[in-house]
Each structure stands twice: as C-alpha cells, then as structure tokens.
Amino acid sequence: VSYLYYPGCCCALEATGRAYEESLLAVLARLGVQFPELGDWNCCGATMYMAVDEKRSWALSLRNLALAEKQGGNGPVDWPLKTRCCGGSLTGTVEEVGLRLAYILLREAKQRGADVVVTACPFCECNLECFQKKVRRKYPDLAALPAVFFTQLVGVAMGIPAKELGLHRLLVPLEPALARVHRGGSYAAATA
C-alpha cells in the first residue's frame, strides 16, 4: 500500500518549504513507506484564489482530487457511526441484539464505500469480524467487509509480512480488500 503525495506549491522544488519535502521524503524512506507524488498536480488555490472566484477555486481542488482518484489514493470514509457502540459482549449473551448492532455498523461502512473497517477496540474487532458470518446469515443484504485492528492495517502499509501482523488469524480474510486498496481504496475507522 502506498500513499499519494501532494506537495503543494510551498513544498515543491525551489519553494520556501523545500526542506519540508526533503526531510519528509527522507523520513518516509527510512520508515519504508512508498510515497509517489500525485502526477501533474496543480495549486490548491490557497485562500487568495478563493477570494477572487469561488467556483474556479473548487475546480482547482477537483482537478487534484480527480487526478488522485485516477492514480489511486487511500483514505478514511466519512463514517458518522465511528463512535457508536458495537454492543460489547451482547453478541455472546443476547445474540439477536449484538448481531443487529454489528450489522448497522457494517452496513453503514459498506454503503459509504469502505473496503475495510479498522478498530482500536478488541471487542469491536471481534463483533464486526468473528461474528460477521452470523450477521450476514441473519442480514443477507450485507456483503463481506473485513474488519481488522488498526495496527494491522498500519503494518500492511509499512510492508510488514502478513504473518507477523496476525492476518492469518482473521475469519474474514483481508486479502480481497487489499487487492482493491492497491488500486486506491477506503477504510472506515471505528473509535468506540
């Protein structure tokens, strides 16, 4: 997985922020993160362009976003349910309630275009991933959506081997999503 780098005019060659780009690229190279530049990017317009013509400033931003989409860029989807409760142990105790809570979270993430859900909480991960087969049996409209610990996705981005990240322990495999992510995918981040 690689990130797309949008330098902006300030950090471009022979601009005031030139050392910013140089140090950033040096640090990322040491971290082993691939960081290709967005090809043929244009100025974002900053605040000045906006002060003259609003619609044209949007067009400037849109061109960059369109280029990024074409080249493939990853990022989080807007997922308002990111702090909504997964139900904790309810999947194990009162299954009907727990499965519905997991379904609501997964469906919303899917509808908002996420290829994978990342969680910080082990209960969220288990409910959204281990119980997903049961969720999908109860709610067949839901397509498979991998859910992993955020550290696993960070690890993938840093090029750490799958085995070291425990990807082989997943009941919903991450690989199909990774294939999409390589072409520019999105993730939904759960923080509850």
Partner: protein, 225 residues
Amino acid sequence: MGSWLDTWRIRYQSQVDPTFFRELQELPGGESIARCIQCGTCAGTCPVSHFMDYTPRRIIAMARAGLAQDVLSCFTIWLCASCYACTAACPQKIPITDVMYALKRWAIQRRTYPRRFPVPILAREFFRVVGKRGRNSEGEVTLRMYLKAGPWRHVSKAGLGLRMYLKGRLGVVPDKIRDRAQLSRLLGSLEQRLAGVSRQRQEPPLAASGERAAACCGGQAGGVS
C-alpha cells in the same frame, strides 16, 4: 406470563419502595438523578433502547417513583452495553451509565435479575474467574456462562468457538497472575477495610474508588462488584 395487571404495568402505592430513590441519590453523582427532566435524549441516543423493556428515561422515572422491584428485575439494565452514549448526551449531566451499573449490582445482591438470562450470569462468572485468577480467560468464562444459561440454547455457538480456536483466538488454558494470594488478600476483606478508612475520615463509604483498585480493569465485573 403474569396477570393482565402485570402486562399493563399498573402499580399501586403499596408497591412503592420509598427508600429506593434515596439510596440511588447516595451514589457518587447520584444526586443528579433529581435533575432529570425526562427529555428522552438518553433513550434516543441509546443503540439498544428499542430492545429494552423500559427505556433509560423510564428507568430514571421509575427509580424516582420508588418502583424498585420493577427496576431491579428488568432486562433493560442488562442490555445496557455501557457505551456511555446517553451519559455523553444527557443535557442534565446525569451519569446514566453509572446508574445502570449500580442497578446491576443491586439486582445481583438482591438476586432479582432475570434467571437464565446470559448477561448477569456472564457478569458473575467473570467476577468469579477474575477474582480467583487475576485474569479473564474468555474461553472459560464463556463456557461457564453457556453451561449456566442453559447449554441447549447455545449449541449453535459452538461452531464459531471452534473456528476461533483453530485460528488461535480462543484460549482453553486459563491465564492467571503469579501472586494470587496477594490478590485474594486485596479483594478479600476490602469492604471492612474501606469501612474502617471511612470511619476514620468521617466520610461516606468509598464505594466508587474502591472498585477501581482491582488488579484487572474489571470489564463485565463492574456489574457485580
């Protein structure tokens, strides 16, 4: 099924426990319950309120009215997943999740919780295992819960358990801390020691801070200790 009177939830003055509201108010932050304006923001925020027999708003109203038996035998308090969405949203800053925890503890102390309902069983088994070993072992606690909640109702869950075991995600050997004797000394006479401390300080019992002194964070045990 009870009589139609139970179904309609008609209650009489003779069923009211006048001390119940006072006990709730003595909880840390409990005085705020008097401030509830019955706006229903808690019920609207709660992700499981539509599964509850009484919404959180109703629980507060019933508790204030002294309907102790109804409040302590309902499913609502056990469906509460402690996500704190209601507490975060409450315009009157009532710690609703803490109130739910207190009601859970009282329901267990007074043995009024619904029998065979897995949530209080899980809380008690978790409390027992963590108190004994200092660590929770998910496999053991889950197995104990299903055995006590009626294993025939939970056979369908064995498949997932097996799949997780094969992936190395479900331990069968219980984990434990080294110094379990120390833990049992710590937990053993906690109430008496805290009572001694509070007598010396001329303060009310330190219930809330005492709970947080356990070695494990407690998780589900918050409902019982």
